[in-house]
């Protein structure tokens, strides 16, 4: 249980740090959002039965929502919905080999 909580805290910290870098340093050079890209990639290549991508989508979405003037929740809901759709498609219809080094939660 402690191990799982620690994992979640570490994941949250990772996305928070990435959000700080994205909204400050990276945004000077490009409008492209690397957080969204990472979430998409993780959800497509991880084990579809793992919750890592889903949790990441939720946390990254929340942090992105704190850095926009759009309606609060738009990124959270969008990324979580994408993650769920990807998982359903990958589990039910499209079985592709997944990358094993992404931590499983």
């Amino acid at each position: 249980m402690i191990n799982k909580t620690l994992k979640i805290v570490l994941i949250a910290l990772f996305w928070f740090l990435l959000m700080l870098i994205q909204t400050s340093f990276i945004s000077i050079f490009t409008d492209f959002n690397f957080i969204v890209l990472l979430i998409v990639i993780i959800n497509l290549i991880e084990n579809p039965e793992s919750n890592f991508g889903l949790l990441s989508a939720f946390l990254a979405g929340i942090f992105l929502d704190f850095n926009t003037t759009y309606y609060f929740g738009i990124f959270t809901l969008g990324l979580v919905l994408f993650s769920l759709t990807a998982k359903i498609v990958l589990l039910k219809f499209l079985k592709i080999p997944y990358v094993s080094f992404i931590p499983k939660i």
Partner: protein, 244 residues
């Protein structure tokens, strides 16, 4: 397949919506706390990206500001002010702020000054060379969001210094577009634009940009074009907020 049954998915979505709903009540406070506590880190990261050497557009503003100021003074018949040496610094009250970041997918900057420092919504934000960057979109307790000129929701009344024509500078996602310029206008590329007091948003005479393109299509009622502002994101480390 047990992990993602329809029941679980619906339950998960409901939980996410409830969390969003709860967070949205405290959105302002949470945003403010994050920005307040991490503004130092963000300011540092932003400063790594900004360059010490300013862009040509930024440097140009110094000379163009003088041209615009003189034209404005002449028009207002206030030569005396110039002779007496009363400059814009004495006319306005400034608050200096540091840029801490830029929002994702929109032309909105965050700065480290807010309501506690006397910053309020719709105040003008300038570069140190007195060129307009945008206006305060929303001021929170400890930080503020600045809507850039290039934001798609931005539209300001401008005046072209050389011809005294009025037009509108609209945001066009990373661009500033010139619109509603009269057909008869003899504006040419390279002309300087300043704010006009017509719309009541800003005081007259703040530098907006230089016209880089003019489109005169026969089918359109007005002339359109493109304006190049006197700054790039890399130039913006410190900004001035016009308080009065």
């Amino acid at each position: 397949m047990k992990t993602f049954t329809l029941k679980r998915i619906i339950l998960l979505l409901i939980i996410v919506i409830i969390i969003i709903f709860i967070f949205s009540f405290f959105e302002g406070k949470l945003k403010n706390e994050i920005q307040k506590n991490f503004s130092g880190v963000k300011e540092f990261l932003w400063s790594i990206g900004t360059s010490k050497e300013k862009s040509p557009a930024y440097i140009e503003a110094k000379d163009d500001f003088k041209i615009a100021e003189i034209a404005s003074l002449k028009e207002e018949n206030e030569f005396l002010r110039e002779i007496l040496g009363i400059s814009i610094e004495k006319d306005y009250k400034f608050e200096i702020a540091s840029v801490t970041g830029k929002n994702s997918f929109e032309d909105v900057l965050t700065i480290n000054k807010g309501l506690k420092d006397g910053v309020q919504d719709n105040m003008a934000v300038l570069t140190s060379e007195k060129a307009l960057i945008g206006k305060i979109l929303k001021a929170y307790d400890d930080y503020s969001e600045v809507m850039l000129l290039s934001n798609k929701d931005s539209a300001i009344d401008i005046k072209i210094v050389s011809t005294k024509d009025y037009a509108i500078a609209k945001g066009g996602s990373e661009k500033v577009l010139l619109d509603y310029l009269e057909k008869e206008s003899e504006v040419k590329e390279g002309d300087i634009c300043i704010t006009s007091s017509l719309g009541g948003q800003f005081k007259e005479g703040l530098l907006v940009g230089k016209i880089v393109k003019i489109n005169d299509l026969g089918s359109e009622v007005f002339k359109t074009g493109e304006i190049r502002p006197f700054f790039t994101l890399k130039d913006l480390d410190k900004v001035l907020i016009v308080k009065e």
